[in-house]
Amino acid sequence: MTRMTMVQALNLALTQEMEKDDSVIVLGEDVGLDGGVFRVTDGLLEAYGENRALDTPLGEAGIVGMAIGMAVYGLKPVAEMQFSGFIYQAFHHIEQHAARMRWRSRGRFTVPMVIRAPYAAGVRALEHHSESREAYFAHTPGLKMVIPSGPRNARALLVAAIRDPDPVIFFEPKSIYRAFREEVPDEEEVMEIGRSVIAREGKDLTMVSYGAMMRPTLAAAETLAEEDGVEAEVIDLLTISPLDDTLFTESVRKTGRLVIVHEAHRSFGPGAEIAARVMDKSFWYLEAPIKRVTGFDIVVPLFAREQAYLPDADRVLRAARETLSV
């Protein structure tokens, strides 16, 4: 075990997978010599050479389009989008080809590719650097959409994503890239994609979140325990698509109350799908309306107003208390 940040844990996953398998190729803007603008790919060029840590020209469509060809050829490209806000320049390749190659070739060609992208708000960044648009990808058949919430699961999920036979969009919450450290095993660790986990057990209220929002959600749960004597069960999705609805629908059957927390926009966001699944599968157990604590349906503001935009523990707490008061 070594205590590390999420950046270091992601780097460990890349290093170990590259060491094992020469078909794993990291590519993107500034991923080689510079080690990535967040240093996630630091040291890979030195260790594996410029063909394995491939600095690309500046062109997101070029990176993803080329990675699709590489993946069809049998390589396992791990493409970095420098920020998720620039993934739209490559969106057509993701939607039109990566997501459908297996389907439209009737299984002959596959795209075992990972697209990594730092995403979400909270680091006082420039415009186009703070969005949470996981819904675009979760809405696209043929893709998998993964968002880790800490160093240990980030590492284990990235390993799984690299080994996955289908294209995985891997969003890294950059506000927690270095916010805290966790013990990460030195030996191999893999977590299954498509599985949520219970981050905190409870019986009175279910809270569902993922990514950087797990921290305010867990903080609110602690306050509820201390101040209200309420034990909230907190579920960390980890995979947005395919959505694992078993834990949260079961949890709601136990608690009867649900608060969903994400920083993505509210309308048509992941919370809407989670709520719909609960209505489908656990409707008769609900004691109160489902609450969503989310980013507002606006363009993410520049950073003077960023904290007002982002859900925090107080906002989660208020929603939880409202739910509990019904």
Partner: protein, 363 residues
């Protein structure tokens, strides 16, 4: 500090070997075996006749919308002919003659345009990517494939096809740029058929040629008479030789003409004149190649008639096989197959939902 003209590579060749009347430039004529020349002719003729048959089937409502290749048989076949099995062919959607040559079956094309996903299947061992409708996007996939070939130390090449319209897309330029930077073994074949639906070549770009667009990316470009199968073949062979020798990418602009509709949903009378189409009929790639082959003593009217009969029979059998499949009740549940390696829980539920619905209808 002086202000001076910088000498940068700015040369584009134009290559034509067989003129519209079928007269060959003997200095440029490639040394090809009789068998191989007849093979080229056969695939071009099959491409034409199959295309005509598809058009009739569409008009009769027996298949759906499809994009005819009529007029582009030389560009299709001349380029594809230089590939070997281990090479990769990356198509757009107007390469049926080339695809047939590379092992895609007529049944699969009929099924695909008949609305059956089964027609998108590419047989094992055939390195052709499936039809790519989003214009120009496939150029980058060819670069990725060719990057892989270079990484794995293979002397294979990827050949990618697209039209004049695609050269206005960003993907085309990113592909040339990436191929230039990484010097990958890829051949870009632009079938400049003069029309992107209703937009003529002159309004697509202010460039004098499309071939010259490669130069800005450090990649050589050549323009050929795309209705001259010998010129297309020679340019493609040179490009493939360069690629195999580690010298990187080439852009070939094959100047041809879409003699038919963009797709069967299109009415070209809205945007171009019959006179223009007639002027290109006079430059038909098959007619001129037949004159050449006749002059070489490789073909005569009798052998052409025999070949036409064989091809007609071959097409008839393929249509029968495809229609036999299309006349069976369709297995709707197959649409859930092949989305992921392992079906997701939600998809399993939805598949079951449809299965129950279908069973309910039967009962």
């Amino acid at each position: 500090m002086p202000r001076e003209v910088m000498e940068i590579p700015n040369r584009v060749e134009h290559l034509a070997i067989l003129d519209p009347e079928g007269q060959v430039d003997s200095e440029l004529e490639p040394d090809l075996s009789d068998e191989f020349l007849l093979e080229l002719h056969r695939w071009m003729l099959l491409g034409r006749r199959f295309d005509e048959r598809m058009l009739r089937l569409q008009r009769q409502g027996r298949i759906g919308t499809f994009p005819p290749i009529k007029g582009q048989e030389a560009a299709n076949v001349g380029a594809t002919a230089v590939l070997r099995e281990s090479d990769w062919m990356v198509v757009a959607f107007r390469e049926a003659a080339g695809e047939l040559m590379r092992g895609r079956s007529m049944e699969d094309l009929l099924l695909y345009y008949g609305g059956y996903n089964e027609g998108g299947f590419v047989p094992e061992g055939v390195n052709n990517l499936p039809t790519s409708i989003p214009v120009g996007s496939q150029t980058l996939h060819a670069v990725g494939l060719s990057w892989g070939m270079k990484y794995r130390d293979k002397d294979d090449v990827a050949m990618v096809f697209f039209g004049d319209g695609a050269t206005s897309q960003g993907d085309f330029h990113e592909a040339l740029n990436f191929a230039g930077v990484y010097k990958t073994p890829v051949v870009f074949v632009c079938q400049n058929n003069q029309w992107a639906i209703s937009l003529p070549r002159a309004k697509q770009t202010a460039s004098e040629t499309l071939a010259q667009k490669a130069l800005a990316h450090g990649v050589p470009g050549i323009q050929v008479d795309g209705n001259d199968v010998l010129a297309v073949y020679v340019a493609a062979q040179e490009a493939v030789d360069r690629a195999r020798a580690g010298e990187g990418a080439t852009l070939i602009e094959a100047v041809t003409y879409r003699m038919s509709v963009h797709t069967t949903a299109d009415d070209p009378k809205r945007y171009r004149t019959d006179d223009e189409v007639d002027s290109w009929e006079a430059r038909d790639p098959i007619r001129r190649f037949q004159i050449y082959l006749k002059a070489k003593g490789l073909l005569d009217d009798e052998t052409i008639a025999t070949l036409e009969e064989e091809i007609d029979q071959q097409i008839r059998e393929a249509v029968e096989r495809a229609e036999a499949i299309m006349s069976e009740p369709v297995d709707a549940l197959q649409m859930f197959d092949h989305l992921y390696a392992d079906e997701t829980p939600a998809l399993r539920e939805q598949r079951q939902e449809l299965a129950d619905e279908l069973q309910g209808k039967e009962a």
